[in-house]
Amino acid sequence: MADNLPSEFDVIVIGTGLPESIIAAACSRSGQRVLHVDSRSYYGGNWASFSFSGLLSWLREYQENRDIVNENPAWEEQILENEEAIALGRNDKTIQHVEVFCYASQDLHDGVEEAGALQKNHASVTSANSTEAGDSACLPTEDESLSTMSCEMPTGQTPSSDPEHALEVNDVDTTGEKENHCDDKTCVASTSEEETNENVPTVEDIAEQPKQNRITYSQIIKEGRRFNIDLVSKVLYSRGLLIDLLIKSNVSRYAEFKNITRILAFREGRVEQVPCSRADVFNSKQLSMVEKRMLMKFLTFCMEYEEHLDEYKDYEKITFSEYLKTQKLTPNLQYFVLHSIAMTSETASSTIDGLKATKNFLHCLGRYGNTPFLFPLYGQGELPQCFCRMCAVFGGIYCLRHSVQCLVVDKESGRCKAIIDQFGQRIMSKHFLVEDSYFSENTCSHVQYRQISRAVLITDRSVLQTDSDQQISILTVPAEESGTSAVRVIELCSSTMTCMKGTYLVHLTCTSSKSAREDLEPVVQKLFTPYTELEIENEEVEKPRLLWALYFNMRDSSDVSRSSYNDLPSNVYVCSGPDCGLGNDNAVKQAETLFQQICPNEEFCPPPPNPEDIILDGDSLQPGASDSSAVLEANSETPKETASLGNPEEPSE
């Protein structure tokens, strides 16, 4: 089947993360023949989103991955004398220090049967899901979209690749594994307690009972399809590069978005809402009248600070936080501006950087709502897929579960000329884009990577409850000690289509100084109460309960310069994995820069042509023909002009 792949392309893209997908789309849009491959079974690489069971199998893969020492040098025979090979890595080493904690009650005996029951239920759950997917055309059922998108995908290369089946197997396996995991982590004692508690609704259960007390682990498993858990937690700035690109290229039609509904701050042990828009300031109950004025005045100034150089030039040398102290702002306003609007810290940025960040925040405000951010429904993992879809629309060819063994370099020219894939097929191309994680250790031996600390939590309640339980919030928790970085918390409600009803999905992100758990657990403890402890301490009811938690570190390859990779030919381009930033500008910038190198003088993702203007094959006479037919049609209808007039009105100005 692999032979079906054409043997020559213009651009081969390895890895389906966001920058790679944008480049693939851009190249395909400007007429390049694109082959886009990913060794994984899903789109997005470290930009992907997973259902709950998908996430568990992803975790499992990482564990297995570690053990695989697969040496299959069969491809070496194919390398000719005037050629050299750059072997690509077999294992992904970008994820480390994975730790999983389950706090929700899980009945051990039930659990075993549950898995079986789950298997039976699974079919119906899936079908329900897939009808939804049909309606919204947005659900990331990777395998489905895959088959619609690529014409020559070598499906079912191995019998076990039936995705549905694979998932189920994983479910069973991981639950088993899960139990072990919990055994390690002190959950054992509590599980039996919870068992008894579970049937007796406890007093401290908050009033909204209809949901029927606690969410159990088996419920999470059962509703696992409702989750779309992002590996990398980001949002879109309303006027960021990615939004502009989505609109310009019309890729936006493949995705749906929701506005982040509020910005939160963590101050003096309490979570509070940050008034950042005009409407917020107007409605805020916590600010005095004068504070409202001072905040609005300062923010208005920030909007056009460049035009008032004289007002800040004396403060250019000091930090933004020092500068804020010189302004007529009360301490809580200073805190809001520094941590939640500029999203910086006491020491990190200068006055100019802070003003710039504040301006950017405000500039994005109000385009789509009262906060500057958008979140893609069904998770961040949708975005790479949207661009892949666009790439496929313009003829790009997609192969998932398709690994590349090596790049073939022509000794004489020093340029890369082909790849050899897992089946030993040699595929020629002019340009090669490789995502950082695909390189072998030999290639990256000199590269210094930073790390991102991540936590994913499932909780039962928002960190700040209001009338509406459907809030999407961003919360910045400043670093407590110097040398560590602020922790960004994004809390998603179920209407973002990333978690089941009655739960919240919470992402924590910061630049690593230690392991993810060491970096993030203090913040988790400040904001949440582990489910088990809650049984004992009634007074802690204020905090949401923690049902499940995952910690991991992700490699941050965003700032690596190309020259630090060993011996890359000039036509091999490196795409980085996700960065730690809140927005996606980095990925877009990178994609545009690389695209300009591959296709100089071509426009980057121009708007697609109007469908009416597309000339279909064998339609060379189309323009004239269609016009004359329109005239004929109209003429024949003049007696009752009516019918045709209805249609053409909408493009008229």
Partner: protein
Amino acid sequence: MHGRLKVKTSEEQAEAKRLEREQKLKLYQSATQTVFQKRQAGELDESVLELTSQILGANPDFATLWNCRREVIQRLEAQKSPEELAVLVKAELGFLESCLRVNPKSYGTWHHRCWLLGRLPEPNWARELELCARFLEVDERNFHCWDYRRFVAAQAAVPPAEELAFTDSLITRNFSNYSSWHYRSCLLPQLHPQPDFGPHGRLPEDVLLKELELVQNAFFTDPNDQSAWFYHRWLLGRADPQDALHCLHVSRDEACLTVSFSRPLLVGSRTETLLLIVDESLLAVEWRTPDGRNRPSHVWICDLPSTSLNDQQPQHTFRVIWTTGDTQKECVLLKGHQEGWCRDSATDEQLFRCELSVEKSTVLQSELESCKELQELEPENKWCLLTVILLMRALDPLLYEKEMLQYFQTLKAVDPMRAAYLDDLRSKFLVENSVLKMEYAEVRVLQLAHKDLTVLCHLEQLLLVTHLDLSNNRLRALPPALAALRCLEVLQVNDNAIESLDGVTNLPRLQELLLCNNRLQQPGALQPLASCPKLVLLNLQGNPLCQIVGTSEHLAELLPSVSSILT
């Protein structure tokens, strides 16, 4: 190349577009023509509905076609069965909605919907409210939709509390919303009726304070948003005062009676709206205005027969009844007196505080404090400055006079575009203060010199003034309303920029008129003075007309009774 799209070139596109447009225009015109022909021929049937919907669907602002549709529907109503009509109405409502989506601010479309709903036997108001909510979701300031919503809410008798909550929600989203604030000003008096103040009266204090807080939130958040300031003005404003008779004056010499009202009114010459009762018997008199034009005026005059003024009786009683305003006033002319009057005192009646007024001055005081606080933060905000001035006027016009003048100066500096308006407003306030001072002093002499006045207001309040000094101001004219000063004997207008003297007419007691250093160009400008019988001294020195050869002769001819004319 595989998979690469072939796309029309831009010339091809332009050509295709041009043909398409031409086609559309042809269809549009012929459809319009057909409709008009059918209308003229009286063929108002469903085909007209069909044709007009083609055009209106693309251009809902074609008002004539909505009229056609109304005519058709009216005709069909007579011909169709109720079931058929129901279908027709349903289609019409759906069509209207699609037109509103094309242009949510189409007057004709909203009006047609109003008309249609008003004709239905069982209109579905809930659906209409929902429609309004949807359109306001898209554009919360669409006043067409707000209008329609008020119509629907009134028809459906939606409780005002619910509508108020709706305005709350939209103000929360974006407080810069005139319609929403305005709707509140209609709903709140309905929700909190105050028996003493009629339908548009004041609000109870607790409600008022809550609203003031809300609106303060708005102008502290964005002091440049006008909508909140306008609502603030409404909250602090008061209802129009009832028509009143302010002053009654009888003069034996001139044998006339003068009445002044709280606002310009028209007194018909035949209709019995203003009755005069002299010594308990009704007297038929002819009412006129001082300028003789008999247009709506503050001041009306009638001549009295000598029998009503004779000196035989110890006194004469004059009672004037304003029948439509249900108000009256009485004054007495005693034996041996030249005149008699009865007047409401401006000091007692707070005549000049009509801009803002609340019963509780504490509320005004605290509003003044918050506005001053805001003003310190926003020294250049014109709305805030103006509100501070109005609040000071309402609280105590004399106490705050000096401060007010400073605020006017600042306001003029930050808002030079409205300098003339502000000068006039300032003049008005200064005249008010001077009138108050004069009345406290209980004299009939009004000092308005050196006040930088640009305009004369409240002249109807000066019915009894005998000496008026307007020197050293910036006045350019003596307006017709000056004719109301029936008792004026000496008028000083030196050092102004007077060009015309229209108001100095029919002043029965005027003896001296000082007009030095003004801008009177031609002797002809003095023509009105000929109607002042007692004028003996006229000083025109320093006017351009003094330079004209023969002016003295001209003036002597024009004003033969004026014994002393200085040029």
